[in-house]
């Protein structure tokens, strides 16, 4: 009977309700399920990318050749498994271009046959990469204008260039290294005289393990650590080869998921409203069921089962729709995200978010279901007007908690999840406060006056606004929250544009390893080349040895699931670092705690002051007043933390975690780095050619290319987020229509009555416009303002931006929302204005 009632009778009786409920759920969840599919594809691709970056399944490396004992230990472990291996030696050395008679520092990657196991190297003009020939990177070829027949002097060998490498998957999206890379056979390098006893470089043994699970490979890593005592030997798995691109794309997909969560929340507000109206409509039937012996708990279970059935149908439909849609869009997405995504959908991955979605959707109904449980069903049958038991604030707690957990889960960050969730809570409290405060003020204004305030339409609208209780609060809240989220997305969108736009002032070239005596002639050379240098900064290689005279200990790395913060923490807590000294803050630095360095440098009577970056200070657990001891090439240097600064890293200017006050540090062994502001490609190349000729030890990094790549990536991501934000807006408007329609529907008889008393259709419409217009516009106004405020907060915390007002992004959405709101009211009030007073009579 229960089954028949909930699954057959009810669905047949209320087909429109179930259709609209399903559509609302479909709209709200589609974004998240879609992003879940894209995210799983991105993860798969990143995993493959990680293998391509490492080029193998596992690598054992050191800054020296492995000893005979270490090789024996390795062999004893790997001989148990079917495997292939090769060796890669990476060193830095000067190389001479014989035709151009130019020398410069390059990174030499020497490899054996079978390199690379994963990924590939693509050479220019259809030349096939071959481990037996000499290949050079494109940037070096451009710099020296190398042709394929040219010879290079590498140590004692002269080798002919066999090809120019355009793309190397092991470089990822880094797009640069400290020096241009060349590729040559390992046996040639070993006989070139460049590798001698004591030579430093990276000596890595790479293995490809056939048919072994990731867990087994992780076990092998532990076995190797157990067999090799020297901590300088590093064992790397693909997932250890962290890559900026991966982190960036992960961050973007996480933010996209949060944007989609906004759409889901809006649709859940709609689900709440729909369900509330529906429960009221069917309350009499439920009371009758109860009267005939169906317990309240059975009614509750029946309703949960019914909702679950609807949810499952919606999800099935969603997958049927979304999978072909994804397959169609995969090429465009690949292009937008900058990584090639497979067109095949992992259905299991697509299902990952569904339990969370189900939980959230069900929890939003808990207050209504509890309200139903609190209804005195027997009394309802006697009452002239049906009314459901009221829901209480704590009924929302399961939904609130699950929303918080879901926010953290989607952002993979407790910090960002909390920020997102906290913002929602702020909007909730401010909106509630505004409604209640507004109602209080309006009540005072109305007092005991008549209905003419100044017109009767206004008077009735004002009274309705002050006396609608929790329904009005809920409507206001939903609208304000929707407007906040829309405004927030538009503002964040602006910030992303601003943050990652290709700024002509950004540097195009980083110049490294400039010796002190080379600084002046290099600067002159740059000026003569019409490309003056900027931000000339000393750079000192150091290690943090002690904090407050206690040895600094690195945190042990966890191998389990890590949040974004833990991942960053692991990267940060390295005691080797580059630091600089200067007595001032640059444009991209801002002191947030403590004082600036006093002018004139450090006094002899105290320790030199140190300025440290905020996140570095948090992760290293260092605060103002702490004494830090650095090891600079064997010499200890002590200083005291004087201030903590924020650094805007995305400026791409030379920034450091640690800046020391000018003092004895000036005498420490150092090199300089400088920046070439954005300039023409020919000028950039000519400066490099001329500088390399005179100062062969200097290295260049073409940041312009990196900035371009990153800007492109963010531009595409911004577009993706924009699409999601408009989808959210669409969901918001559907909900808005539903809300106003619901309100008008609820008050249908009030409106019919007013008509019977002599209100014309025009006056009724005016009355509705005043009431809903005031409600919508005040909610929208508050929402747009709050969205702007939260965006400013995020801008300050995440992007380090100063507060700004972009009227265009406030007024345009305000105008658009106003027009849409008024149109929505007029459309939804149509039925009410056409209300027939005849329906008020008993026979109707």
């Amino acid at each position: 009977m229960t089954f028949k009632f909930f699954f057959i009778k009810e669905m047949k009786k209320y087909p429109l309700f179930f259709l609209i409920l399903s559509f609302t759920l479909l709209l709200g969840t589609m974004g998240l399920v879609g992003i879940s599919i894209v995210s799983s594809q991105v993860q798969t691709k990143l995993k493959n990318n990680a293998q391509e970056l490492l080029t193998s399944d596992i690598a054992v490396s050191a800054r020296r050749e492995l000893s005979a004992e270490e090789i024996t230990s390795l062999n004893s472990i790997f001989q148990k498994y079917p495997q292939e291996s090769y060796k890669i030696v990476d060193i830095y050395s000067m190389v001479t271009h014989l035709r151009a008679k130019a020398s410069r520092l390059v990174e030499i990657r020497s490899t054996e046959n079978k390199f690379p196991f994963y990924g590939g190297i693509r050479a220019k003009d259809g030349v096939v990469f071959d481990n037996r020939g000499l290949f050079i990177s494109k940037d070096l070829a451009d710099l020296w204008q190398v042709k394929l027949s040219d010879d290079l002097q590498i140590g004692s060998h002269v080798m002919r260039v066999a090809g120019i490498v355009e793309e190397d998957s092991s470089m990822g999206l880094r797009g640069f290294s400290l020096a241009p890379r060349i590729y040559m056979p390992l046996e040639k390098l070993m006989t070139s005289g460049l590798v001698k006893a004591g030579s430093t470089g990276s000596f890595a043994h790479h293995f490809k393990l056939k048919d072994l699970s990731p867990q087994k490979i992780a076990d092998i890593k532990k076995d190797i650590y157990a067999g090799i005592a020297d901590p300088a030997v590093k064992i790397t798995l693909p997932e250890d080869s962290s890559e900026q691109t991966g982190r960036v794309i992960n961050t973007i997909t996480n933010f996209m998921a949060l944007s989609a969560l906004i759409g889901l929340i809006l649709s859940l507000v709609g689900v709440f409203y729909l369900y509330q109206s529906h429960l009221l409509a069917r309350l009499k039937d439920l009371c009758l069921l109860n009267l005939h012996g169906l317990h309240k708990s059975q009614i509750l279970l029946g309703m949960i089962a019914q909702f679950t059935f609807v949810f499952v149908v919606v999800m099935a439909l969603e997958l049927i729709l979304i999978i072909p849609l994804y397959k169609t869009l995969a090429p465009t997405l690949s292009n937008n995200l900058g990584i090639e995504l497979s067109g095949e959908v992992n259905v299991l991955a697509a299902l990952t978010e569904i339990p969370f979605l189900y939980g959230l959707s069900l929890f939003i109904l808990v207050p209504l279901l509890f309200g139903l449980m609190r209804t005195s069903m027997g009394l309802q049958l006697k009452a002239s007007k049906l009314s459901m038991g009221r829901f209480r604030f704590w009924d929302f707690i399961p939904f609130i908690l699950s929303l918080w957990l879901f926010s953290c889960y989607l952002s993979h960050s407790l910090g960002i999840g909390n920020l997102f969730f906290g913002s929602l809570l702020i909007v909730f409290f401010i909106s509630t406060l505004m409604v209640r405060g507004g109602q209080f003020v309006l009540r005072k204004i109305i007092g005991n006056r008549g209905l003419l305030l100044p017109s009767i339409e206004n008077g009735i609208a004002l009274r309705s606004l002050t006396r609608s209780g929790h329904k009005l609060t809920l409507s206001f809240l939903s609208l304000a929250m929707g407007a906040t989220l829309i405004s927030l997305i538009l503002q964040l969108d602006k910030m992303i544009i601003k943050e990652f736009a290709l700024d002509p002032k950004k540097p195009s070239l980083f110049i490294f390893d400039i010796q002190e005596e080379q600084m002046e002639p290099l600067a002159k050379l740059a000026e003569d080349n019409a490309t003056p240098l900027a931000y000339i900064t000393p750079m000192i290689r150091a290690r943090l040895e002690k904090v407050n005279d206690k040895k600094f200990v690195k945190k042990k790395r966890s191998f389990d699931f890590r949040s974004r913060e833990e991942d960053e923490d692991a990267r940060f807590r390295n005691n080797s670092l580059n630091l600089t000294y200067r007595g001032y803050m640059t444009d991209s630095e801002k002191i947030i705690k403590g004082d600036p360095f006093p002018s004139g440098g450090a006094a002899d009577t105290r320790l030199p002051y140190i300025s440290i970056e905020k996140r570095w200070s948090e992760r290293m657990d260092i605060s103002i007043g702490d004494k830090l001891t650095f090891d600079i090439q064997g010499v200890e240097f002590e200083g005291q933390v004087h201030n903590i600064k924020e650094v805007k890293w995305t400026t791409f200017y030379p920034n450091f975690f640690v800046t020391i006050e000018p003092s004895l540090i000036d005498a420490a062994p150092k090199t300089f780095l400088a920046v070439l502001p954005s300039s023409k490609k020919e000028n950039k190349l000519s400066l490099q050619r001329n500088a390399v000729e005179k100062f062969p030890n200097i290295s260049f990094i073409d940041v312009g290319e990196l900035v371009g790549k990153l800007s492109g990536l963010f531009e595409k991501s911004r577009q993706a987020i924009e699409v999601i934000s408009w989808l959210s807006l669409a969901v918001g408007l559907v909900i808005l229509y539903g809300l106003s329609h619901d309100q008008v529907y609820r008050r249908y008889y009030d409106l019919a009555l007013m008509k019977s008393l002599g209100f014309s259709a025009g006056r009724l419409r005016l009355n509705l416009l005043y009431e809903f217009g005031a409600l919508f516009l005040s909610a929208m106004g508050l929402g747009l303002f709050l969205g702007w405020g939260i965006a400013q907060l995020i801008g300050k915390e995440v992007f380090k931006l100063s507060p700004s007002v972009d009227w265009e992004r406030i007024l345009y959405p305000a105008l658009l929302l106003t027009i849409l709101c008024l149109a929505t009211i007029l459309i939804s009030s149509w039925r009410a204005v056409r209300a027939k007073p005849r329906e008020l009579l008993s026979d109707s």
Partner: protein, 222 residues
């Protein structure tokens, strides 16, 4: 001899189309004198509420004329009809139908302020006092009992001194005792003000309290 307040001639009304068309009123002729208390009785579906809706200008007939105070309301535009109703008619419904967001006083005030009558507030307060609800004037409908709601509805209907008051089963939603009290109040108020009353009811005892009883059956007057 005074002219009747309401003159109904050959009034017809049907609903639906084609085969499902139902003729609800089949050529009604009826005169209602000024100050008369007319009871319209009949079984469910006899057409009494339809007749009431046409007399009160809430619906329009298919054919026939309705003259209320010499004005043919069956040919009026919706706008004119709305204005006419506001000035000359009062209606009391079975379901009370008070505006849910207005207090008892404001509900009574509503038709007065709509017509911009002078001293509207005083009139509304006096009326509420006269129905015994002066102490409940600032309560909203949800805070009133069924009997109280209907008393407010009567005060509202009578507030403009209508030429004719229509009452559609006004005690139908109340218990017997409360219903009797409400009806006594209604009769007293129309008597005091000399208002013409058209009362729709299925209760013969209640109908007997009126000066004339008209039976409606299958859309025709008996």
């Amino acid at each position: 001899m005074m002219k009747p307040t309401v003159v109904v001639s050959n009034l017809r009304k049907s609903y639906g189309q084609g085969e499902s068309k139902v003729e609800v009123l089949k050529g009604i002729n009826l005169n209602i004198e000024k100050g008369e208390r007319l009871a319209l009785i009949g079984k469910s579906g006899s057409g009494k509420s339809t007749l009431l809706s046409l007399l009160a200008g809430l619906d329009s007939p298919d054919s026939g004329d309705i003259l209320v105070q010499d004005q043919n309301i069956s040919t009026m535009s919706e706008r004119d009809l709305t204005n006419f109703r506001a000035q000359h008619m009062g209606i009391v419904f079975q379901q009370f139908h008070l505006v849910s967001t207005l207090t008892a006083l404001e509900n009574v005030l509503l038709p007065l302020e709509l017509l911009k009558r002078p001293n509207a507030m005083t009139t509304a307060k006096n009326l509420l006092e006269s129905v015994g609800l002066g102490h409940r004037s600032h309560h909203v409908p949800a805070q009133l009992s069924g009997g109280e709601s209907q008393r407010v509805a009567i005060a509202r209907a009578i507030a403009i001194n209508p030429a004719i008051l229509f009452a559609d089963e006004p005690s139908g939603n109340l218990d017997e005792e409360t219903g009797d009290k409400v009806m006594d109040l209604l009769f007293k108020m129309v008597q005091d003000t000399g208002t013409t009353l058209v009362l729709v009811t299925h209760d013969p005892d209640l109908a007997k309290k009126c000066s004339r009883v008209v039976h409606l059956e299958h859309g025709s007057l008996l």
